[in-house]
């Protein structure tokens, strides 16, 4: 079953999963947008501009950081492949675009983040499945009845753990009653996601190790968890107001 799935969505076809997730996530987010006092149209535009900036920024950042290669072949900038892409550069460009667009449209920060939560939660599920298809984010070797055969070893199916945890997080975020203050839904989602990333990081074999011992993903997830819980506490106690100001 897993082999069939991996054959069906072998790279670069694994991107189909992400494209489908963008469509589904956006539809669900728009459906619930009014609940967070955000217009569905503004939310749709926000997602569109954010994705466009992510794709363009990721490619441009990659080209700039490999300038000599791109000066030799400038037309490669327009290739359709996804390998010449820097996710961090893309993320930074998307964040900047979202901030500028949100400010221009006078979108309230926490309301918008709450409205975006279903979109992000669906994307997290698809990311786990695309990891499974590509064989990336693989687990440590394990002698378990549910281990999967990958890269010449029986391993923890960390990609399935990831997809399942993301599915549960989505289910919770979708069924939670409206939070008393804007931002709490998004922060609940962020804390849960950071929490399971921190937990599951222990079973991953592909992570960079800090100080030769500590998986980078786990450390970053702990920091994200701490920030999410701190912000949750501040918002819930009224230290941060609904428009995002202190």
């Amino acid at each position: 079953m897993i082999e069939l799935f991996r054959s069906l969505f072998t790279p670069p076809r694994h991107l189909i999963l992400l494209v489908a997730a963008v469509w589904l996530g956006q539809s669900l987010a728009e459906k619930r947008a009014a609940r967070h006092q955000v217009s569905a149209e503004a939310l749709g535009n926000l997602i569109f501009y954010g994705l466009a900036a992510y794709l363009l920024g990721g490619r441009l950042y990659y080209a700039l950081s490999h300038l000599t290669a791109y000066l030799k072949s400038p037309l490669s900038l327009f290739e359709l492949g996804v390998s010449s892409f820097d996710p961090l550069g893309g993320g930074a460009a998307a964040l900047l675009t979202l901030l500028v667009y949100g400010r221009r449209q006078k979108l309230a920060l926490w309301n918008t983040l709450d409205a975006l939560t279903p979109f992000l939660a669906i994307l997290a599920i698809a990311l786990g499945l695309s990891h499974l298809a590509a064989g990336s984010a693989y687990g440590l070797p394990a002698d378990l009845p549910w281990a999967i055969s990958l890269w010449n070893a029986e391993r923890h199916p960390t990609q399935l753990y990831e997809a399942l945890a993301a599915l549960l997080t989505f289910g919770l975020a979708w069924t939670l009653k409206p939070a008393p203050r804007p931002g709490l839904l998004f922060l609940t989602f962020a804390a849960l996601t950071a929490g399971w990333q921190l937990f599951l990081g222990a079973f991953r074999a592909d992570d960079v190790l800090w100080l030769g011992r500590f998986p980078q993903g786990q450390v970053l997830a702990w920091i994200a968890l701490a920030i999410s819980l701190w912000l949750y506490e501040r918002i819930n106690s009224g230290d941060i107001h609904e428009n995002g100001n202190r």
Binding site: H66, T68, S73, P74, S84, Q218, V219, L229, Y232
Partner: protein, 175 residues
Amino acid sequence: MQPTRRLFFLAILAAGLAWIGISARTGASNLSAAPQAGFPAPDFSLQSVDGKTYTLSNLRGQVVLVNLWATWCPPCRAEMPAMQKAHEEYQAQGLVVLAVNATVQDERSAIAPFLTEYGLTFPVLLDETGQVSSAYQLRSLPSSFFIDRQGLIRYVVNGPVSEALLYARIEELLK
């Protein structure tokens, strides 16, 4: 209620730190060869079209680009001029391009005219039994594996490689 929640959050963070400590790696992992970034490249020994035998492990110390291709595959054809340029430009710096023809799913007689048509001068190896296709778990053509001087696969590209991407990956490994 608020102090209880704060204590709960602090307990979660403390448990998180403890979990990081518990799950810290204690020894160097011993990876077996696999066709994935971060793993040692699966070794192989193949004959080239001109009868020479190439063994991947003998090229340790050099940067190796293993490109799996077939004559009937349009993206493989499209990327060959870039492969040739890269071979000419970086060969002196320690790059070895090994173009492994998936002969098991190609016409042997189509290879020589192909090499003449594109003026290819790097080694073209014949995978007549499918051993490399199998060891590299070939799922799509072309597929390129960028191998560093220690014999570790650093990048895998499924599908065509653009000229700039090819140069960028090679330059990173030659540094």
